[in-house]
Each structure stands twice: as structure tokens, then as C-alpha cells.
């Protein structure tokens, strides 16, 4: 039986360290997600505007997000900001900025399609009851919108978590980096540690994303019935 390097996981607090590393990128995803939801709602409402120029700017923003790989955006912010603003922002901050920039576009598009899916007479009947614009949005339209976009928003969270794995490439110490440290430290005692460490990281991501995907699918089903 070949040595799979599994025992390295149970050495010291290695496994806990991996979990802590995973939390770094998951936390990043959660922070970016919160910002994306808030800004996304704003963007979604702006996108339903009748102003052509506003709509054009939104289109360009969405198109940039649609075609630029997130890693390219990370490079732009991480390396670009360092040079031009003269500040060395950390990889984590760069991550929050980029993933919010990306998530807001995705979320905004979801909010927009959910908003236009609300029948027009819902607005009309609310206005005819004497509600003002803010009341109409907060009391009537948004609750219906949220129900509609919840499945895709939850799905966006799994994509966000998967995408934040990229931050290791701009030097953030997260699960992969911790994994590498463990592999390096046990190079002599456990030459096969890479197999189990990367295997476990793979499964950890799965363990986080799979339930969320299932939740999204269940919500989708509930919405359709």
C-alpha cells in the first residue's frame, strides 16, 4: 500500500490550520457578498432607469465584468493601486474590492430581471393607494423581488466562495498557502503530503459549496411550484 501522506493531517494542529485558512477566503467571500447585495440592489434599480446614458454606462460596466477574468481585475487593483496610489493595499483588501465590483454587477443584473418581472399593475395599484415611491419600493416591490432572486443570489454565493480561492495568487495566506506551508514543513517525514493536503482542500471546498448549491436548487424548486 502506497503512502498517501494522510497522517500529516493529524499532526499537530495541521487540520485546524487548514480550516482557519479556508475561513480566510470564505470570510472574504461573505464580506464581498454583503457589499454586493447592498450595491447590487442599488445598481439593479438604476438599471431599470429610462435614461439612455445611465443604461449605457451600466451596460459597459456589466460587459467589463462579463469578459474580464476576475484574476485580471485582481492584478489591476493589486499591482495598479500599489503603483499609482502609492499605497500597498493588502491582497485581502484588493480581493474585497474586486469581488464586490464583480458581485455587484452579477447581483445588479439579478435584481434588474427580478424587478422587471414584477407586473406593472403592482406599482400602479400601490401608487393608487397613495403610497409614495420609497414606500412602494420598500413595502410592495422589494419583498416580491427578493423571493424571486433568492435562489440565484444563493447560487452567486457559491460562485463567490469558489472565486475567492484566487487570492492565493496575489499573496493572501489562505487555505492553499497554509497547505503549501504544511507540505514544505513535512517534506522529509511525509514526502507524499501534497496528495492528501490538496485532496483535503478540494474536499473542504466541496463541503462548503455543495450544501449551498443544494439550498439554491431547493429554493429554485420552491419558487417554481
Amino acid at each position: 500500500m502506497q503512502d498517501l501522506g494522510i497522517e500529516v493531517l493529524f499532526k499537530g494542529n495541521n487540520f485546524i490550520r487548514l480550516l482557519a485558512g479556508l475561513w480566510v477566503s470564505v470570510r472574504l467571500a461573505l464580506i464581498a457578498m454583503v457589499f454586493s447585495i447592498l450595491l447590487g440592489f442599488l445598481l439593479g434599480m438604476i438599471m431599470t432607469s429610462k435614461n439612455r446614458i445611465v443604461r449605457l454606462i451600466c451596460r459597459i460596466y456589466l460587459e467589463i465584468v462579463r469578459i474580464m477574468p476576475q484574476l485580471v481585475l485582481l492584478f489591476l487593483v493589486y499591482f495598479g493601486a500599489a503603483k499609482h496610489l502609492g499605497i500597498n493595499i493588502s491582497g485581502e483588501i484588493a480581493g474585497v474590492i474586486v469581488f464586490t465590483f464583480w458581485g455587484t454587477a452579477e447581483m445588479g443584473d439579478l435584481v434588474r430581471s427580478a424587478l422587471i418581472a414584477v407586473p406593472k399593475h403592482q406599482y400602479e395599484s400601490a401608487y393608487s393607494l397613495g403610497l409614495n415611491k420609497t414606500q412602494v419600493y420598500l413595502q410592495i416591490i422589494l419583498p416580491q423581488t427578493i423571493r424571486r432572486l433568492l435562489p440565484s443570489a444563493v447560487n452567486l454565493l457559491t460562485r463567490m466562495i469558489k472565486t475567492t480561492s484566487l487570492v492565493v495568487l496575489i499573496g493572501v495566506v489562505e487555505v492553499v498557502k497554509v497547505g503549501k506551508q504544511i507540505i514544505d514543513a513535512s517534506r522529509y517525514q511525509n514526502p507524499n503530503a501534497a496528495l492528501s493536503i490538496y485532496g483535503v482542500i478540494f474536499l473542504l471546498y466541496f463541503a462548503v459549496c455543495f450544501p449551498i448549491s443544494k439550498l439554491s436548487a431547493a429554493l429554485e424548486k420552491k419558487l417554481q411550484s
Binding site: P69, G80, K83, L166, L169
Partner: protein, 219 residues
């Protein structure tokens, strides 16, 4: 902006972009084949294989490509399976894309009414014949926009290949920034390279999406 720096490094970027595009093409074709095989297995409800396909799809969809690549590149050699950077990148992209393409096929297949199958069965067609001759041709028309979106997604995902030491656009950019500190020029060329690769595909996709929505046989 150092124009001379830019012009002298254009060949480097062209080469890197060529590499990215080549692997993306292999990856997309491979992913379509894997996706087709998965949907065939699901359609024929082949025992065991159908469960394996389901597990594969869940694993592929719920893990990042970057982690898949690390496992392939650094983990598998410990089992005696050594893949080159290119092989690793291609395999990773197919592993990731296969499940997305399978879902794309699924969307189309589900849009074909069950009674079309029954109609083919009652003419004596086998399940394989029904799948390839009746269901698939109708399904693909519906699936095209999903395939296109997946294509863009997969090309974007190729940006992580530098993690397995593939000399792609990101790799070259990072190199130039590290070596010469010509950050602006390197980043500009990076963005332009991706624009050149992805903008046309994105535009064609939007156009196709509008077209396919109204397409139908005999129109």
C-alpha cells in the same frame, strides 16, 4: 507609458495568448464531449455510471478550478501520475467544463417534450437512436446560448493556469512586473489581450442569444 517597452514585449504576449487560446479550445471541445457523454448516460439511465456522473457533476461544480489544478499538478504525481503544465491545464478545464456543458445539454434535453420520445419509441427507434436523432438535434438549438456562456466562462477561467506554471498571459504579466516594474505597460497589455480574445466572442454570443430565441425549424 513606455511605448518601446510595450512594442518589444508584444511578441511575448502574442505567444502567451496563443497558448491560452489553444488550451481553451481543447478544453471547450473536451468539455462538450464529456458533457455529451454525461447526458447520454443520464438519458439512458445506465446503472452505476449514472451515479458516477452525478458525483462527478457535483464535485466539478462545487470546487474551484484553481484547487482542481493544484490537486492535479501537485497531488497526483505522488500517485505516480505526472502531468505536464499543459496537460494539467487542459485536463482541469475539461474536468470543470464537462459538468457545465452537461448542464447545458440538460437544459436543452428537458425542453423537448417527453411525448417526442414516446413518438420515436413507437416507431421502433431504440433509446440511443431516439437520443441522437430526435432529442439531441432539438435540444442543441435551445442549448446554444448556454454553451456560449459556458465558453466565455471557461476562457475566463484559463487565467488561473499560471498557478501550475503555464506560461500564459498572467504568468508573463507577473514576470514583467517582477523583473522590470513596468506595471502599467504589463497590465495594459494583459487587459488588451483578454479584450481581443473575449470581446468578439461575447458580442457574437449576445447576437446568437437574440437570434436563437426566435429561431425554429422552417422559419
Amino acid at each position: 507609458m513606455d511605448l518601446e517597452f510595450i512594442s518589444s514585449h508584444i511578441p511575448m504576449y502574442v505567444e502567451a495568448a496563443g497558448l491560452t487560446v489553444r488550451i481553451a479550445i481543447y478544453g471547450i471541445i473536451g468539455a462538450l464531449i464529456v458533457g455529451l457523454i454525461c447526458s447520454l448516460i443520464k438519458e439512458l439511465k445506465l446503472p452505476v455510471l449514472k451515479e458516477i456522473v452525478q458525483i462527478y457533476i457535483e464535485l466539478s461544480r462545487n470546487t474551484p478550478l484553481l484547487i482542481q489544478l493544484f490537486f492535479l499538478y501537485f497531488g497526483l504525481p505522488k500517485l505516480g501520475i505526472v502531468l505536464s503544465s499543459k496537460a494539467c491545464a487542459t485536463a482541469g478545464l475539461i474536468f470543470l467544463g464537462g459538468s457545465y456543458m452537461a448542464e447545458g445539454f440538460r437544459t436543452g434535453i428537458d425542453s423537448v417534450p417527453q411525448i417526442q420520445r414516446e413518438s420515436a419509441y413507437s416507431l421502433g427507434l431504440t433509446r440511443e437512436q431516439t437520443f441522437f436523432r430526435i432529442i439531441l438535434p432539438q435540444a442543441v438549438a435551445t442549448s446554444v446560448p448556454v454553451f456560449c456562456a459556458n465558453m466565455i466562462f471557461l476562457i475566463k477561467e484559463t487565467s488561473v493556469f499560471s498557478a501550475v506554471a503555464l506560461a500564459d498571459l498572467m504568468y508573463v504579466t507577473k514576470d514583467l512586473i517582477g523583473l522590470y516594474y513596468n506595471t502599467d505597460e504589463a497590465l495594459l497589455m494583459l487587459v488588451i489581450a483578454y479584450l481581443i480574445i473575449l470581446l468578439p466572442i461575447s458580442l457574437v454570443t449576445s447576437w446568437l442569444e437574440r437570434r436563437v430565441r426566435y429561431a425554429g425549424f422552417g422559419n
